[in-house]
């Protein structure tokens, strides 16, 4: 399995460490044609204004939207903003991959960034993790197909829709791999376990 980490800007390396811990091969991708080889994609944290700017300039927009139709994407923080259908800033054009609306920097500036315990419901059981929120976005609206994996102060901060996962926080900074595992390994297992009529 080959997972790509979109490396236009942001904390790409920490996602690499998490994938390594799961024994998954990964590549840092910056060009649209590199997506072809991939089984999944990570859109990391960074600045969503910068990511929009670089995606537009480098024709990645449509390519990622097409990719999302049959391959899983995991987005953290700015990555979640990019996966949403609507954001609250003139310079951010989201990809519209998930049926959510988000507010950027909704928890405040860096002095209000925090780490806290977070119970997560994933793959049939609940796990308590440390979640790092850095100038984090909030999900303000979500559609009925959106499954909520975790809430912070009764607001959703980890969600799943179909094969895609989006998070307000940064599991990669705490070396937590449950979301990467869910998006890329469990998802694949689910697909494989479906009966194959062709055979």
């Amino acid at each position: 399995m080959n997972i790509g980490i979109l490396s236009l800007q942001g904390d790409v390396e920490k996602h690499g460490s998490v994938l390594r811990s799961l024994g998954i091969d990964f590549f840092f991708v910056r060009y649209a044609d590199e997506l072809i080889e991939l089984d999944g994609l990570i859109i990391p944290g960074g600045e969503s204004t910068t990511l929009t700017h670089l995606m537009k300039k480098n024709k990645l927009f449509q390519s990622i939207q097409l990719f999302a139709k049959n391959k899983p994407i995991l987005g953290t923080c700015a990555g979640m903003i990019m996966m949403s259908k609507k954001s609250n800033h003139r310079l951010v054009t989201p990809l519209g991959i998930m049926d959510i609306e988000v507010d950027r920097n909704a928890y405040g500036r860096q002095v209000f960034s925090f780490v806290d315990d977070l119970p997560v419901r994933i793959n049939g059981h609940t796990e308590k993790i440390k979640a790092t929120f850095i100038r984090a976005p909030k999900i303000t609206q979500w559609g009925k197909d959106v499954e909520i994996l975790a809430e912070y102060n009764k607001e959703p901060c980890a969600i799943k829709q179909g094969m895609h996962i989006a998070l307000s926080f940064h599991p990669e900074l705490n070396g937590i791999n449950i979301f990467h595992k869910e998006a890329f390994i469990n998802h694949k297992a689910e697909r494989k376990s479906k009966p194959s009529y062709a055979a």
Partner: protein, 293 residues
């Protein structure tokens, strides 16, 4: 809930990787920077090239100007304090700036001590010329290190010198035996535990950015290829003839730093870069990089 831990500060520095942090002097410039894809702006009253030209004491920026910039843009806003001036740092923290640069570009307030940065919730970035200086600053709590270069010179030679120095000193640590590390810590004037950590990691324990003299997309690419994780551009953008195009170009150059074909296209038609200075012609006492202990 912990709000002041070191990992949280380094976390923001991680998010800035692969981006460009631009010096801006007013909300209009901040907007140009944000529109061009800057990952953060550094709010200061006079960019280094002007400080160099005009002289006088350079201090923390007027809080009103910082607030106006914070209102204008949504990306992180950084600001500078004088070396050792912890009261300026307290004020910047009250203003909720996202990163504080304890900077040699401003006139030092303390000739022996830097700020004890662990006391703050806001992360700090500090300049260095070698590994010892980098590790002293990290020991005091800096969450990001940048080369000093020679700010406001438009000349990349000092940033290259500092980046190469740090990199080669790190490499040297990785091949030393345990007892040699103590001797090396003494030579570097660096905290022993950090020396041990760097020897093991083979890199700094915090992100390592480049600053001081970057004026072109090629300069940005050079620093990235030498191991910088992103770049600060001070005077290079707003002292050039066409700041917006240059800002756009440097943002792309940092992402595609090892794609020469793309860099060739990016570097097209940018009009005139800022005027540069020959470092040898700057008297030693006027070199900003000499400040810091």
């Amino acid at each position: 809930m912990s709000k002041s831990n070191f990992e949280l500060k380094v976390g923001l520095a991680e998010m800035l990787k692969g981006g460009v942090i631009m010096d801006v002097m007013n909300p209009e410039q901040a907007r140009i920077a944000e529109d061009a894809g800057a990952v953060a702006v550094m709010a200061l009253e006079r960019i280094p090239a002007l400080i160099r030209k005009e002289g006088g004491i350079s201090r923390m920026s007027d809080p009103e100007m910082i607030r106006d910039i914070q209102k204008e843009v949504s990306i992180p806003v950084m600001a500078k304090i004088r070396i050792g001036h912890f009261a300026e740092a307290q004020i910047l923290e009250a203003l909720e700036v996202d990163f504080i640069d304890e900077s040699e570009v401003l006139t030092p307030a303390d000739e022996h001590n830097h700020v004890w940065k662990h006391d703050f919730k806001v992360p700090f970035v500090c300049g260095c010329r070698d590994l010892g200086e980098a590790l002293r600053r990290i020991g005091e709590g800096a969450a990001m290190i940048r080369t000093k270069g020679e700010a406001g010179s438009g000349n990349i030679v000092e940033a290259v010198r500092h980046m190469r120095k740090v990199t080669s000193q790190i490499k040297e640590l990785t091949i030393l035996s345990r007892e040699e590390l103590m001797a090396q810590a003494k030579i570097l004037g660096a905290p022993f535990t950090l020396v041990q950590q760097v020897a093991k990691l083979g890199k700094l324990p915090v992100p390592n950015f480049a600053a001081g003299g970057i004026a072109t997309p090629a300069d940005a690419s050079l620093m990235m290829q030498l191991g910088a994780e992103t770049v600060f551009v001070g005077s290079g953008i707003f002292m050039s003839e066409d700041p917006s195009s240059r800002a756009n170009a440097i943002v792309e150059a940092v992402t595609f730093y090892n794609d020469a074909g793309k860099l060739a296209n990016i570097s097209h038609g940018l009009k005139k870069a800022m005027d540069g200075l020959d470092i040898a012609k700057i008297p030693k006492e006027e070199r900003l990089q000499e400040r810091g202990w």
